[in-house]
């Protein structure tokens, strides 16, 4: 069994720190939270994208972390686009070491938006998707279109409700980009179309940030009860049905089986809302809603703070921010804090069993983690 002993993250937004400095900041917080010194760490698993167009011009991230931590322990990098953080945790969980630091960090805001779009697009297939202008917003717009064609009861209004929920949560999260900046449903629904039918506020926000956790084989309060990673074909157009992402279905099924829980046992979830449609189809792929029926639960407030299954209490990628390789570990940060009852105004009523769903690309890699609160270590 593996446990999470400590978590840390930077504030998400525009940072004057470099990627490795944000990784360091998040790691130190996680070590303090775990009440551990770095000398007790046996290995580090890290994730970052090392953007080509960034001003940093810095590669060989593991050795850079060796410099930061003044260590010679094994440090290995895992890259899985937007699911880098989740994949790093999944990978660390396979390793035999006693104590592992898992850290993800990315710096996006030194690039102008065209360059960020270009960088992200490199995680799409080159000869068809990149050359035909199929960037991630347009890939997900086509997913939304396909979904709404197949399930016409679902409308852009339901996507807007997801965005509004996540913005309301982020407004209460001091580490979120949109902290204390609530966004009204009206503003969301009247925001400009970026890729029809998706609007600006259907898209997550690029930020700088780092997040980390310390995992251990020693008993701690939070158990990683399920950890599963599945993949799918890189181009979305190659898949038969984009209204459901198979890797999400497979990874959640496996994680539920490992944790010996069912979807209805989940108390709180962090869901990869790179686009609102991704959160919506995840409700169904993760078994929280029947196929084509997520809209009913959205309308009922099922995923709100006081609903049956609060989702994205952190504000999600949508409004907390999406620093790519840090995202999956920031989800873990939020869930651990929720399970420890530390989230103040946005603390949910019950958080004994939690789920994190982290997606790379448009469903090319999907990681599901299920955490259980085991009481004081």
């Amino acid at each position: 069994m593996t446990f999470i002993r400590g978590v840390g993250m930077t504030k998400f937004g525009i940072s004057d720190k470099l990627t490795h400095q944000m990784a360091y900041e998040a790691s130190v917080e996680a070590l303090r939270d775990a009440n551990m010194a770095f000398d007790e760490i046996d290995a580090v698993v890290c994730s970052t994208l090392e953007f080509f167009q960034s001003i940093e011009k810095q590669r060989h991230f593991p050795a850079m972390l060796s410099s930061m931590f003044r260590t010679h322990v094994p440090i290995i990098k895992v890259e899985a686009a937007c699911s880098g953080g989740g994949a790093a945790l999944w990978y660390a969980n396979q390793l035999p070491y006693e104590n592992i630091l898992v850290v993800g960090s990315d710096k996006l805001m030194t690039m102008k938006s065209e360059a960020i779009t270009d960088e992200f697009m490199m995680a799409a297939e080159n000869r068809y998707e990149q050359t035909e202008g199929l960037n991630f917003p347009s890939q997900n717009a086509l997913v939304a279109q396909e979904y709404m064609q197949k399930y016409p009861s679902t409308t852009p209004h339901h996507l807007a409700l997801i965005a509004a929920k996540n913005h309301a949560n982020a407004a209460l999260n001091p580490k979120a980009k949109f902290y204390q900046q609530p966004i009204s449903l009206e503003r969301i629904e009247s925001s400009p179309v970026v890729c029809s039918p998706l609007r600006l506020f259907d898209c997550s926000i690029s930020v700088d940030g780092g997040a980390a956790c310390v995992i251990t084989k020693d008993k701690a309060d939070i158990e990683i009860a399920g950890s599963s990673l599945y993949t799918d074909y890189l181009p979305t157009f190659e898949r038969d049905d984009n209204t459901s992402w198979e890797a999400a279905v497979l990874s959640s099924k496996e994680a539920y089986a490992q944790a010996k829980v069912a979807p209805e046992d989940i108390d709180v979830a962090e869901i990869h809302d790179a686009f609102t449609i991704v959160e919506l189809i995840a409700y169904e792929d993760l078994g929280f809603a029947k196929k084509g029926k997520a809209w009913q639960l959205i309308e009922k407030g099922h995923f709100m703070k006081d609903g049956k299954l609060p989702a994205n209490m952190s504000g999600g990628l949508k409004a907390k921010g999406h620093p790519i390789s840090a995202t999956g570990l920031a989800q873990i940060y939020e869930l651990v804090k929720q399970m420890r009852g530390l989230q103040g105004e946005r603390q949910v009523r019950r958080a004994k069993t939690a789920l994190a769903h982290n997606v790379g690309g448009a469903g090319g890699t999907i990681v599901t983690h299920i955490l259980k609160h085991r009481g004081a270590a």
Binding site: S113, E114, A115, T117, D118, M121, E125, R127, Y128, E129, Q130, T131, E132, G133, L134, N135, P137, S138, A141, L142, Q145, E146, Q149, P192, V193, V194, C195, S196, P197, P235, F237, E238
Partner: protein, 377 residues
């Protein structure tokens, strides 16, 4: 018509968008499947620019063929779900085909030929192909015609009924013996593989041709052929602005004649504007699979992965269109050639088939040292 290409397993029916030489499973067989009857099954209007797609809004269609295979297609035109998508061939002198290479060079070259009204080939047709292999550099540096493009053209001609013994590849280098200049181009291997003929133009007979005030000594070789292809690699050039169809024809000049022109760059450019009149007509297959950008050959130019094949019956149309697609100024000698009635250089009057002009446009690094581009003729 748009082509959707798949490699299909006979055993399992699994499909790949990538060429598969060796089946994944032992004992399996892979067959290539090309769908041509395409209809629109998805459409999104994209408002987010990036360096590859600077002009917005544009649309991305998802096309589906008669085999159920799909691919994205960028267009500036409005389509609805259910619309039939087709590209109609255009035999006009003012037409240029522009095809994005979807991993398969043969399909790209074949489609480009088809879209300019195709070529009539019999077993007796004598065919000349003039690549650019005058600089000793590998194709991945964008300095010489990609051997994959050359191979695709040979295959396309064989497919149409040509005989290998009637195909001749010809080139010369003004600075090195041809065997040294072409050693890294992949041409010697192709010639051996397909048993086509290989001619060093410098060893052919030359004749004087007076066009306007210029006296050219041109090879008589092209006169021996029924069908001629000019296959330049597309590169920016510090002196000429851009190397395309016109520049590639200079190596039909006798060496001393060329060197005389080269002494005076402006005079050379003026002469270049009428050079095609000294030669029989060629179909241009512009190889922009891997081209070069920046200051071009020998002047710290760099490879550019453009992933395009062009085809045109008129060299002015070809070079003017290619320059505009890459947001370069149309080289003055091309403009002049157009003004002298050799072909259309006004982009508004050039007809694109395969892909639309506005949908193709993207920046490449400019040849900033080009006095010709700055000052004109």
């Amino acid at each position: 018509m748009a082509r959707i290409i798949r490699w299909v397993s006979k055993k399992s029916g699994k499909k790949w968008i990538h060429p598969i030489d060796t089946p994944l499973d032992k004992g399996d067989e892979i067959v290539k499947q090309v769908g041509t009857k395409t209809k629109v099954v998805g459409v999104t209007k994209v408002f987010i620019p990036n360096p590859l797609h600077p002009i917005v809004p544009y649309h991305v269609l998802i096309l589906q063929d008669e085999h159920g295979s799909r691919m994205p297609k960028k267009t500036m035109k409005e389509y609805k779900i259910g619309d039939v998508y087709e590209d109609k061939p255009n035999k006009d002198e003012n037409a240029i085909a522009a095809i994005k290479i979807k991993y398969d060079y043969l399909e790209a070259v074949d489609e480009a030929l088809e879209l300019i009204g195709d070529v009539k080939v019999t077993a007796k047709t004598r065919i000349l192909i003039k690549p650019n292999a005058s600089i000793p550099a590998y194709a991945y540096l964008g300095m010489c015609t990609n051997p994959k493009t050359m191979e695709a053209l040979i295959q396309a001609l064989l497919k149409r009924g040509a005989k290998a013994e009637n195909i001749t590849i010809a080139e010369q280098s003004f600075f090195l013996p041809l065997e040294k200049a072409a050693a890294k181009s992949g041409l010697p291997e192709l010639i051996a593989k397909y048993k086509v003929n290989y001619v060093d133009i410098s060893q052919t007979k030359f004749e004087e041709k007076k066009i306007r005030e210029f006296t050219f000594k041109v090879s008589m070789l092209p006169q021996e052929f029924d069908l001629r292809f000019n296959v330049p690699v597309i590169k920016t050039d510090m002196q000429l602005g851009m190397d395309g169809a016109f520049e590639n024809l200079t190596r039909f000049l006798e060496k001393q004649n060329f060197l005389e022109f080269a002494k005076n760059p402006k005079k050379a450019a003026l002469a270049l504007s009428v050079l095609p009149q000294a030669l029989p007509s060629f179909i241009t297959i512009g190889d922009a699979s891997i081209g070069a950008q920046g200051n071009g050959p020998g002047e710290h130019g760099e490879p550019g992965f453009f992933n395009l094949i062009f085809a045109a019956r008129n060299p002015v149309v070809h070079d003017a269109a290619v320059a505009k697609v890459f947001c370069l100024r149309i080289p003055p000698y091309i403009e002049l050639a157009g003004k002298l009635g050799q072909g259309e250089y006004d982009i508004k009057k050039i007809e694109f088939v395969g892909n639309e002009y506005e949908a193709l446009r993207r920046d490449v690094k400019q040849p900033i040292g080009s006095a010709l581009l700055k000052e004109g003729l």
